[in-house]
Amino acid sequence: MKKVFSRPKSLTKIPFHYCAGCDHPIAHRLIAEIIDELEIRERLIAVWPIGCSVMGDKYFDLDSILASHGKAPAVATGVALGRLTNPDVLIFTYQGDGDMVSIGLGEIIHAANRGELFTAFFINNAIYAMTSGQMAPTTVVGQKTKTCPLGRDPKVHGYPIRMCELLQTLLTPAYIARVALFDAKHINKAKKAIRKAFQFQMDGKGFSFVEIISACPTNWKAKYPECREFIKEKMLPVFPLKEFKTFQIDNEGEKNV
């Protein structure tokens, strides 16, 4: 009988600790599947963040380093220096919205703008999840959290920061895309974007970035079907799903589109 489904080889046997309905496991699994398909596990170094995915190294069977709050892109910049002696190295960072967009906003923008050769995964669930539900820079208008119990008010908190749109203003990055995981169709699209992001890095095209819109049932205080509706109705109008930038090659040479 043909085996059609199994655990990706790049994952360890340790079960995920994430809450029921959390989208981290799906994101982890998609990344692991692509690592297997591209056969790059032995070339990879993972840079993990602070946040719910702080234990990422336990689940991925990869060389790993834990970065301080928001600083994964700076750590990855240093890790990339490893190419001086080991040119085959590939790198990914994995960060949540509080980590990347709040405390680490400077580091991600500058790493992207220098064109550091690594792939950045960005889990946007519009909330600080590990610290149990405070307002994130990506919390949408009206969304209630422990630090905006009456809902995010633009007059007080400003509007959510949109990372893909922000990074799109930079000329350097090679690939920027936003995807979601709330149904099979979108999961497949997300997987394609993850593959493309790694491919851009492997081809030396430059910095690649995939934002993954994710659900946090625990801190949104909602069951998954409600989370799905929240994503579709409240998040996607603010965070549209698309490829924002792809580095293409045409007859006139290489250019960013």
Binding site: R41, S64, T77
Partner: protein, 356 residues
């Protein structure tokens, strides 16, 4: 014998690093150390290394953490406020045992302070980040020392898998002196622990946290054992005339050099001054100071700050002898005349007679 070169301190640092096999310099401009990064940009291009201007000192330190973890010999050079921000990743490096080298050309503090020379960063060097970690701290007193100690810093950082700081007084970075550059090393140590992709081996990891308190205590104890070994083997100091001086002076860096002039002048007046110059500010040379304290009844600590090693000296002396302090802060350089006067005051010299 190599030919002497005439070079600015901030540049000598980079030459010392290159001799030690440094292949990456990360930095952020700050006076009075900026020439180090500028010079590194030129030299790294020549030797096939990388010099990178980062967006902040904090980003520099995190990038150093990454560079150290992949086994590249990397460094930065900074000053005062920059040194504070560099501490952003020092605790991560110390805890996950990643070697790194941070050269701090100290300026007047606290806060923005000024850009004049000072020795104001010793305390922050000894514990500017959270938790029970230690860093080796070297204190040069000449441009020659800056090159040599930067070279040594790379060796010690790799030997102990630990951050090493070189604390140079502000003027050391800026002044030009004749020096002999260190002999370039030919072989770098193997680093089987480095991140390089988990090929034919289990993954290597740098994960400085443990949610289990017992696990975290074990990490602390392991580090503490290492720090004790460093204390046993890496203490460095210079001692002059410490057998039975009228007064023992403890000073580091450029101040120690000024004290040497004071000693010479004082000999003319038949005054015997001893000097202990800690070269490692951590681990601190407490044993030699403790022994010397038994043979004199006057100790004076001189620093270009309001007293940042004087507590270490008092702990070393352990009450055997009174310890006096003289310091100039804010970027003022102490003079031989000032120190001589202070020494005479401590010795209670009346009309040229030492009151022993």
């Amino acid at each position: 014998m190599k030919k002497p070169v005439f070079m600015k301190g901030n540049e000598a640092v980079i030459e010392g690093a290159i001799a030690a096999g440094c292949k990456a310099v990360l930095g952020y401009p700050i006076t009075p150390s900026t020439e180090g990064l500028e010079y590194a940009v030129k030299r790294m291009r020549q030797i096939g290394g990388i010099a990178k201007q980062m967006e902040s000192e904090a980003a520099v330190s995190h990038a150093l953490y990454g560079a150290g973890a992949v086994g590249i010999r990397a460094m930065t050079i900074t000053s005062g406020p920059g040194f504070n921000w560099m501490h952003d990743a020092v605790d991560y490096m110390a805890t996950s045992e990643v070697p790194t080298n941070i050269i701090d050309i100290m300026r007047g503090g606290p806060a923005l302070g000024n850009i004049a020379p000072s020795q104001s960063d010793v305390r922050s060097a000894k514990g500017g980040a959270n938790g029970d970690y230690r860093t080796i701290i070297l204190a040069p007193s000449s441009v020659q020392n800056l090159a040599d100690f930067t070279f040594l810093a790379f060796e010690l950082a790799d030997k102990w898998r630990n951050p090493v700081f070189v604390l140079g007084d502000g003027m050391l970075g800026q002044m030009k002196e004749t020096l002999i550059l260190p002999e370039p090393i030919t072989e770098l140590p193997e680093k089987p622990w480095r991140l390089s992709g988990a090929k034919n081996r289990p993954p290597n990891k740098f994960i400085p946290f443990d949610l289990n308190p017992a696990g975290l205590e074990a990490i602390n104890k392991k580090l503490d054992r290492k720090y004790n070994q460093i204390k046993e083997t890496e203490i460095r100091y210079e001692a002059i005339n410490i057998k039975k001086p009228d007064i023992l002076v403890v000073a580091f860096g450029l101040v120690a050099r000024i004290i040497k002039s004071v000693i010479k002048e004082a000999e003319k007046e038949n005054l015997s001054i001893g000097l202990i110059r800690p070269i490692t500010l951590w681990p601190f040379p407490d044993e030699v100071i403790n022994q010397a304290a038994e043979r004199t009844n006057k100790i004076l600590v001189v620093e270009m700050n309001m007293g940042q090693i004087v507590d270490d000296v008092r702990l070393a002396v352990n009450g055997k002898t009174p310890v006096k302090f003289y310091g100039r802060a804010g970027g003022l350089i102490t003079t031989t005349e000032e120190i001589t006067e202070k020494i005479k005051e401590v010795l209670n010299i009346v009309k040229g007679e030492v009151q022993r």
